[in-house]
């Protein structure tokens, strides 16, 4: 397959438009198969799906993507047959629809990589044609003109009066400009503070005061309006999982029902784009390791069909995503044994802390744990991906009842509410979402145990790391550490020694030059009001660090 096609440059546009359509079809055929199995052979929605397949076929043909065109074509024929003839509504036909629409979605997703398109299509088309039989009368029916009115649109654009489609890069550009305005406002604020300090409270200062706070309020509203334009329903991500879960459950010979709730919850597109993979890890783990084989479930008095719940909900300025199964639960004893074997420090009797060990890099990738202890590959990767998004991940489990992972994510990555701190004259932004408290360091409150700093915080001992050593300025340490900031991620806490607390500020995240700072403790950069570049600390990463002085 080559892309020597007039529209070859539009391959990403093609994928962006076609993938949601293919996934809609795939999900609908999955639902149809389930319905038919339950004895309800209604096919009312097939007409609309056939129209969508037709659109996919046409788009693929224009792009010169012959294998995709072929799969869409035979699916359309099969759908037409099912519409026309209730007798054709068999389990075999439903299985072919499910398989083909899954293949179609996979092919569309891989459309940019010609090599990926080579296999599968011809073979599948051959089987559909054989199924449709020798008496292959023309089955395509005229399209209903109004079909698109009833089509379910997954994408955000063009479905209601007054909506337009906008290239996401334009929204990014607007945000970039907004970020510059925020920096300029901070600069203005510094000047204002200077003026107040020098001239006190004259009438002009009062006017300036009003103008500055009005500007602040307007900027807040602008920020909120701008953020609203960047949010998309999480259905665009959740929609992909029906097929994946079904396939994996089949491989594992388990019956699994995927329950999706709150898929109209909205999140920044940048986050949505990076959420698919960690969620796939968590879902796979639930199916492969969490859910027991059917016989074991029945013995335990559970329904033979397992339930995996995928739920999203908005909580203030965060989104919480839950992946829960009703399987066997985590085995704390095995996790402890494994941790000891790996030479990890094992928390005392605290169950949550023991469970949290499964997120330690390298822990869950060990083969034994994946087959024996009940949790498998990729949990550390999933946790790392969530942390990279400025989020947190927690696990709860009950033996015999199931396991649930709770992800907490910011609504957006673009603006981070931060505490600005100073360490060795450098300023850093610490995301407030991970700050539990700031504590003034009293003489004698910091102890050294095994050459690690330890402080008592709210009745328990926490490790306190030196900011300068962590950030690489410790050798030229010039200032006394006066405070420590208690960072948290999930159940873990760690203190960070700093010289000064500068204040709170909303910072606009700029991408991080990879040569800047340690990637495991710094997640990005920003520009402060005085024009200085400041690193944004990866608080979750710092809390998770294993070797810290």
């Amino acid at each position: 397959m080559d892309h020597d096609n007039a529209f070859g440059d539009l391959i990403q546009d093609y994928i962006a438009e076609s993938l949601p359509l293919a996934e809609t079809v795939s999900d609908a055929f999955l639902a149809l198969e389930r319905r038919w199995r339950d004895g309800d052979t209604d096919a009312a929605d097939v007409a609309g799906l056939k129209g969508t397949l037709h659109t996919l076929k046409g788009n693929s043909a224009m792009m010169g993507l012959t294998p995709i065109q072929l799969v869409a074509h035979v699916l359309e024929d099969l759908a037409a047959r099912i519409l026309a003839d209730p007798v054709a509504r068999t389990e075999a036909a439903a299985a072919l629809l499910v398989e083909g629409s899954g293949l179609l979605a996979d092919l569309v997703q891989a459309a940019a990589d010609p090599a990926a398109l080579a296999g599968g299509a011809e073979e599948y088309a051959g089987r559909v044609r054989a199924h449709l039989g020798a008496a292959n009368e023309p089955v395509s029916q005229p399209l209903r003109l109004e079909r698109r009115d009833t089509e379910r649109r997954v994408d955000a654009g063009a479905d209601a009066t007054g909506t337009i489609r906008v290239d996401f890069r334009r929204l990014d550009a607007m945000l970039e400009i907004f970020g510059e305005a925020m920096i300029e406002r901070s600069a203005l604020l510094e000047v204002y503070r200077g003026l107040t300090a020098r001239y006190g409270n004259g009438p002009e200062i009062a006017d300036l005061d009003r103008a500055v706070s009005a500007l602040g309020a307007t900027m807040k509203r602008l920020e909120s309006a701008l953020m609203q334009t960047r949010l998309l329903p999480i259905a665009t991500v959740f929609g992909r999982f029906g097929r994946a879960v079904r396939g994996l459950a089949q491989e594992e010979r388990k019956r699994v029902r995927l329950l999706i709730e709150g898929d109209d919850t909205r999140l920044d597109k940048t986050i949505l784009d990076r959420l698919g993979e960690p969620l796939v890890h968590l879902l796979s783990n639930a199916i492969v390791h969490g859910v027991e084989p059917e016989a074991e479930r029945v013995r335990a008095g559970k329904p033979p069909e397992a339930t995996v719940l995928l739920r999203a909900a908005t909580l203030a300025d965060q989104v919480q995503i839950t992946v829960a199964d009703d399987g066997r639960g985590l085995d704390a004893d095995r996790i402890v044994a494994k941790a000891k074997a790996l030479g990890l420090e094992v928390p005392s009797a605290d169950r949550e802390a023991i469970y949290a060990l499964i997120f330690v890099p390298g822990f869950s990738t060990a083969e034994q744990i994946s087959t024996v202890a009940g949790r498998g590959v990729g949990l550390d990767a999933a946790a790392a991906a969530i942390h990279a998004l400025g989020g947190g991940i927690e696990v709860a489990s009950e033996t015999g009842r199931g396991t649930s992972f709770t992800l907490t994510l910011p609504l957006t990555l673009a603006i981070v509410r931060s505490l600005i701190v100073e360490v060795d004259r450098e300023r850093y932004a610490v995301p407030l979402s991970h700050v539990a408290e700031t504590v003034r360091l009293e003489p004698g409150s910091l102890h050294e145990i095994n050459s690690r700093g330890v402080a008592m915080w709210r009745g328990s001992a926490i490790h306190v790391a030196d900011g300068g050593q962590l950030l690489g300025t410790g050798a030229t340490r010039t200032a006394p550490r006066n405070y420590y900031v208690v960072l948290f991620a999930g159940p873990r806490r760690r203190g960070l020694l700093v010289d000064r607390l500068v204040g709170h500020q909303d910072v606009v995240v700029k991408g991080l030059d990879p040569t800047l700072g340690r990637p495991d403790v710094v997640s990005g950069a920003t520009i402060l009001g005085d024009g200085r570049v400041a690193c944004i600390l990866d608080a979750a990463g710092i809390v998770a660090l294993r070797e810290v002085a």
Binding site: A6, L10, E17, S18, N59, P142, E146, R147, A158, R165
Partner: protein, 137 residues
């Protein structure tokens, strides 16, 4: 014998597919049509408003299936209101039946463009429409 070459002009594309708009953008920015002005509408309502605002349009490419006023509805309304009857409107269809085409012509479509199409199909069609109108121009 080669086909007549189309000239750049002012075009209106009415389609609910962002992909198709990108395709038209390519077609109208390369080859013989490079330098054309193109207006884009995502549904029939937007399309009708743009048609009303631009009597200088060379050709309108109108998708048949769209939410918010489909191609046939746009044609009918345009006919009823007698809006710029001199501007050729081409109905863009997939596998339409002869009845669909007859309805389209009855409602005032000048020609058809069938999907899937390639740039040369569009260029040829526009050249043909421009040639038809040449004596009057």
């Amino acid at each position: 014998m080669g086909h007549a070459t189309p000239r750049p002009g002012t075009f209106l594309v009415v389609d609910d597919s962002a992909l198709h708009h990108q395709m038209y953008r390519l077609i109208f920015s390369r080859g013989p049509l490079a330098g054309s002005t193109v207006y884009h509408a995502m549904n029939g309502r937007e399309g009708y408003a743009l048609l009303a605002a631009h009597p200088e349009l060379t050709v309108v490419l109108l998708d048949l299936n769209m939410p918010e006023m489909n191609g046939l509805e746009l044609l009918s309304r345009r006919q009823a209101e007698g809006l710029h009857p001199h501007i050729p409107i081409v109905l863009v269809t997939t596998e339409s039946t002869p009845e669909d085409e007859a309805r389209g012509r009855g409602a005032g479509a000048w020609d058809y463009l069938r999907k899937p199409f390639q740039p040369t199909d569009v260029e040829r069609l526009i050249a043909r429409l421009q040639a038809d109108r040449a004596p009057a121009a």
